[in-house]
């Protein structure tokens, strides 16, 4: 299916065929990472601005490398040490950046919906690189690419997403994508961290790690943010780890021998994942990171690589 959207804001709004277009394109672009000269001319003369209002090493670097390998000019704009710190509003900052005629603006913001706001305000393409607890579409796409490469297909696979589902944009984007592609999703975590929307989206809910990971093809562990403890949602890290930490013993006793272990990073070693599991044979955490570059290349290429008049018609 051809790509016609101006922006990539959510997985929720995409059709299954569009998700597959992104995943297929990313799969094709992976080969560039293995070349001696990691550069192709596809986005020569295009400008990509990384506009990051939240800290991020992995995602920002990954977008930066993706843009550079496609020959785009990539400019990083972080909120600290910029006009945002001097009190300029988000939309004003974005308009000023837009006045420099970028082709794509990649936005990360702590407020849900910030990228959608920019997409309405600006005529260039907007990519959501994570907005609040809403969505993180490129992370879901790289997770899906990793799953397909390891399992060969999507339809009929079962996945357990474990941890702080309520505050996770990664979980939300993945749930939308996985359901559209015919996968079964179980979300698991302490009741305080399971959002009401999980069942509405057709997920099974489990409150015991041992039940959630039984017979699934993929286990996706989420990072536990320490702030959740201070907000009173979990009693202590130690208790969380005791009930929800994925250890070798638990894996051996309850999970299938060919299960994939995923984590969007950064890992809290010893909290949600024991080090032996994070570094173990079923872990594909580093595959996920390298797939991230291919996915972001695919997104930039599909948004900025085609006919600008058509793709950016408002």
């Amino acid at each position: 299916m051809g790509w016609t959207r101006k922006d990539l804001l959510t997985i929720r709004e995409l059709e299954a065929a569009e998700i597959l277009t992104l995943v297929d394109t990313a799969a094709s672009l992976q080969e560039i990472a293995t070349r001696e000269i990691k550069k192709v001319p596809a986005l020569r003369g295009k400008t990509v601005v990384n506009l990051f209002y939240e800290n991020s090493t992995r995602t920002r670097t990954s977008f930066e490398i993706a843009g550079k390998w496609l020959s785009a000019d990539v400019i990083n704009f972080s909120a600290t040490g910029s006009s945002a710190a001097k009190g300029e509003s988000f939309v004003d900052t974005a308009r000023n950046i837009a006045a420099m005629s970028p082709d794509v603006v990649v936005v990360r913001h702590s407020s849900s919906g910030a990228p959608a706001l920019l997409a309405r305000e600006l005529s260039c393409s907007i990519v959501n690189a994570g907005d609040g607890a809403h969505e993180h579409p490129t992370q879901a796409l790289l997770d899906l690419l990793t799953i397909r490469e390891k399992k060969g297909h999507f339809e009929g696979l079962s996945v357990a997403i474990v941890g702080d589902i309520a505050h996770s944009r990664v979980a939300r984007s993945n749930i939308h994508g996985m359901k559209k592609l015919g996968m079964t999703v179980t979300v698991a975590g302490p009741p305080t961290l399971i959002p009401p929307y999980a069942q509405e989206l057709g997920c099974k809910v489990s409150y015991r790690l041992e039940d959630a990971i039984r017979d699934v093809d993929v286990i996706m562990m989420l990072r536990l943010q320490q702030e959740r403890m201070h907000a009173g949602l979990i009693p202590s890290l130690r208790e969380y780890s005791r009930y929800w930490g994925l250890t070798l013993d638990r894996l051996a006793a309850h999970a299938r021998p060919d299960v994939l272990i995923m984590h969007p990073g950064p890992v809290n070693r010893g909290v949600e994942l024991s080090p032996e599991v994070a570094d173990g044979p079923y872990s594909v955490i580093l595959d996920q990171v390298s797939k991230g570059v291919a996915v972001r290349m695919a997104v930039l290429l599909l948004l900025a690589g085609g006919r600008s008049g058509e793709a950016q018609a408002q």
Binding site: W3, V40, G305
Partner: protein
């Protein structure tokens, strides 16, 4: 790289199954003759039918000379000069699992038209390494070049008008081995 009119009808058959096979056999012999054997010769086919033709040429050389030559796949989408004129690009994988450094690369495509695809392929190949030599093998040369590009091996020279299309049909993709010339239906 040129968009085809939507509705076409067959105007004439250019190569039938036997003629297509003879053309490939001849090109295989020419490749061996020109390069003094099969040493250091590699094939790179352009997606999609160029790859199939490259595999057939390699098989022919294997049966003539006994040499097993590697065949790679090249997708030139990222190197097109008209990316700004098409819709969102459809990229498929490039897969050349051998080094082309200091090798003779025979680039294979089904139809040579404006030459812009080959220009893109040359750029793409050179980004992958520095071959000793690049040669071009084409099943049908239909003329109308827009760039100074000339094939080394030609299955069939076929003068065409710009409104016509040349369809190379191969068993692996189309269920038959045939080359036909097509013209718009309203003509």
């Amino acid at each position: 790289m040129t968009a085809r009119p939507s509705r076409l009808r067959e105007k004439a058959e250019v190569l039938d199954t036997a003629a297509l096979d003879r053309a490939l056999t001849r090109i295989a012999h020419e490749i061996l003759e020109k390069n003094g054997g099969a040493k250091d010769v590699t094939f790179v086919g352009l997606r999609t039918r160029g790859v199939t033709l490259a595999q057939r040429l390699a098989a022919k050389i294997a049966s003539i000379d006994g040499a097993s030559l590697p065949v790679g796949t090249l997708d030139i989408t990222l190197y097109r000069d008209d990316l700004d004129m098409i819709g969102a690009p459809v990229v498929r994988a490039t897969d050349i699992p051998f080094s082309i450094k200091d090798k003779t690369v025979v680039l294979v495509d089904d139809v040579l038209f404006t030459g812009r695809t080959i220009r893109a392929a040359l750029d793409a190949l050179i980004d992958l390494g520095r071959p000793k030599m690049i040669q071009l093998a084409i099943l049908v040369d239909r003329g109308h070049r827009e760039l100074p590009i000339r094939p080394d091996y030609i299955g069939k020279n076929l003068p065409t008008s710009r409104r016509e299309a040349v369809a190379v049909r191969l068993t692996e993709h189309d269920g038959e081995d045939r080359v036909v010339i097509e013209e718009p239906e309203e003509a």
